[in-house]
Symmetry: C2
DNA sequence: TTGTATGCGTTATCAG
DNA sequence: CTGATAACGCATACAA
């Protein structure tokens, strides 16, 4: 089972490899007749292009690399599916890497992708990501870099993000409307755009309602289950809080668990609202109010942006994907 | 920012590219002195190997491809993490593709990986997978193929699977011990090894208890949420069942939801047990008994098998990863 | 519209 | 131990 190359099919047709190459590439000026002939015998002989050789020659490829913090989060795995769907249809391939929120692994992933001459890179920054010199390196090499969700403004290129501000604003407003008055906020690192924006949405909703914004009510780096547990207790006992708007579902989950353990009833005595609409949000007891980020749509838009870039478009799109507040039991005191 | 190559470093050291290549490759007979010198200036000049060129020359690469049905399932995403962890440490890269349980996409993924000259492939078959000619093609090309979870015995190569039989057997035995007497089984396609084995475990546990195995109690192709809902109602109303052992957590979830809707109390009136130990299993109400497949360990073992193969080992390992029954509320009538 | 020649960066073979 | 040379398969600048 020998691999057959353009040479083989050239020999068979008694033409040169260049002609075959051009016929296969379609775009060049080539007589329709020979093109047809080439196509036909290529198929007949079972020709499969050697993309490696093409990459070496062209210095780039039709493969797109994607780096995400972790594929085990519903948001990211759905974004990936959205990207893949669109990219495959357009004839590009996708290869996926995880950074595990770790700068070292992120750098390694970048290096690997560059070494494999991907045509473009899609990425969402890891928590630890800083400096971004490894990413700027790609940009300098001329590799289109499309950022999504967690983005850095000092890196050029298209950016696709959620409307985090509004998601937070609407969430907090909803809590206020349900009579919660002392709402704390569980945030991620405020150095990251998404958490900063959600914090600002939180702040805006409070101020609009004539309530003062208290820095002590913001728990930074509190987006995992454990911190949710720990901090909801502090919020309740030390700050007299009666609700939490969390920037992530996992810390909201932790909060719910701790509250149950403490015998505090939700939503009667304490309101909880999360972000990301993880699958478990609707399965818990009580069910968890959360913000749906429409990751699949985001994935599609990312893919479109990448494709435009790969086609040489200079413009850098900045796309904002709307979010939807999904109201469930954990925050709903007023039945409508 | 020009890419520097082995030629550049050869020129600088006034030696030939071949020597540089050998020094970098380490293994050949080369004087320690020149090796050290090459290594040093390579680092100093910021040399990064062009793996594409190497792949073209060698016809293979240090990149491993992995095809899974879907990354949004806890089991698969954890297996991936386990593989990645080990593979990265050994200096290999991993690229991931999803088949979405679709034969066409599976074939496309195989083609893409072959075109990209991956050194080896890890895969778990999609539900639709049949014939396997696309996979055998890889084997014929000399690409090591390691299968896991859903495997086909007609494809040679190492196979890493769970002890599905025991997982099922222990689950059903546990249900019996808790006084459930009419246990139905939600299965996937019985053409797939994992579901077949689990069915046999179910059967064995029943027979051991002196109960007859009834084919009507097995619901094939019932592993998604919707079928779980539909079939639990049938099981209850038409078959007088009092428990279900499901081959997947999603149909167990559907069953729990439907039972709640119908006002049937779990586990008092009906027992439910799942498979895979999805994250939501411990979050539901009642919490769901399930089988932990230890996917991370499985991933590690897969990686080790691949590495052995890549090093030219001829032996085909068949590894069975043990499972653990996680007993939770949905099946526990007898408190211990 | 087609052919000719060259090179992408690396490694393997053969000599020395 | 090191050097020279060729080749992996393809795409393109240039010539015809």
């Amino acid at each position: 089972m020998k691999k057959i190359t353009i040479k083989d099919i050239a020999r068979k047709l008694d033409i040169t490899p260049s002609t075959v190459s051009r016929a296969l590439a379609d775009n060049s000026r080539i007589s329709p007749k020979t093109r047809a002939k080439v196509m036909e015998t290529a198929k007949k002989m079972g020709y499969e292009p050697n993309v490696i050789a093409a990459s070496l020659r062209k210095g780039t490829s039709d493969t797109v690399g994607m780096i995400v913090p972790g594929i085990n989060r519903s948001f990211f795995s759905n974004v990936i599916s959205g990207v893949e769907e669109m990219l495959n249809n357009a004839g590009f391939n996708l290869i996926i890497s995880q950074s595990n929120e770790n700068l070292k692994k992120e750098k390694l992933a970048v290096q690997t992708l560059m070494q494999n001459r991907v045509g473009a890179v899609i990425m969402s920054l890891s928590v630890q990501s800083s400096g971004h010199s490894h990413i700027k390196k790609m940009v300098k090499r001329g590799i289109p870099v499309v950022q999504f969700d967690r983005v850095a403004s000092d890196i050029p290129g298209p950016k696709i993000v959620n409307d985090n501000f509004t998601g937070a604003y609407v969430s907090v407003k909803h809590l206020l409307e349900n009579g919660f008055k002392r709402i704390v906020h569980f945030s991620g690192s405020l150095g990251i755009n998404v958490y900063k924006e959600r914090m600002e949405g939180y702040k805006a909703a409070l101020e609009e309602a004539g309530m003062e914004f208290n820095e002590r009510f913001v728990f930074e780096n509190s987006i995992i289950r454990e911190t949710g547990k720990r901090n909801v207790e502090i919020a309740l006992n030390k700050l007299g809080a009666d609700a939490v708007f969390s920037s992530g579902d996992f810390s909201a989950l932790g909060a719910l668990e701790k509250l149950k353990e403490m015998g505090v009833s939700v939503p009667e005595e304490f309101g909880v609202s999360g972000f990301a609409n993880e699958p478990f949000a609707e399965l818990m007891h009580p069910t968890l109010t959360s913000v749906e980020q429409n990751p699949r749509e985001m994935g599609n838009r990312i893919a479109l942006a990448i494709i435009k870039k790969l086609k040489g478009d200079e413009e850098d799109e900045n796309i904002v994907i709307p979010v939807d507040l999904i109201i469930r039991e954990s925050s709903m005191r007023i039945k409508s």
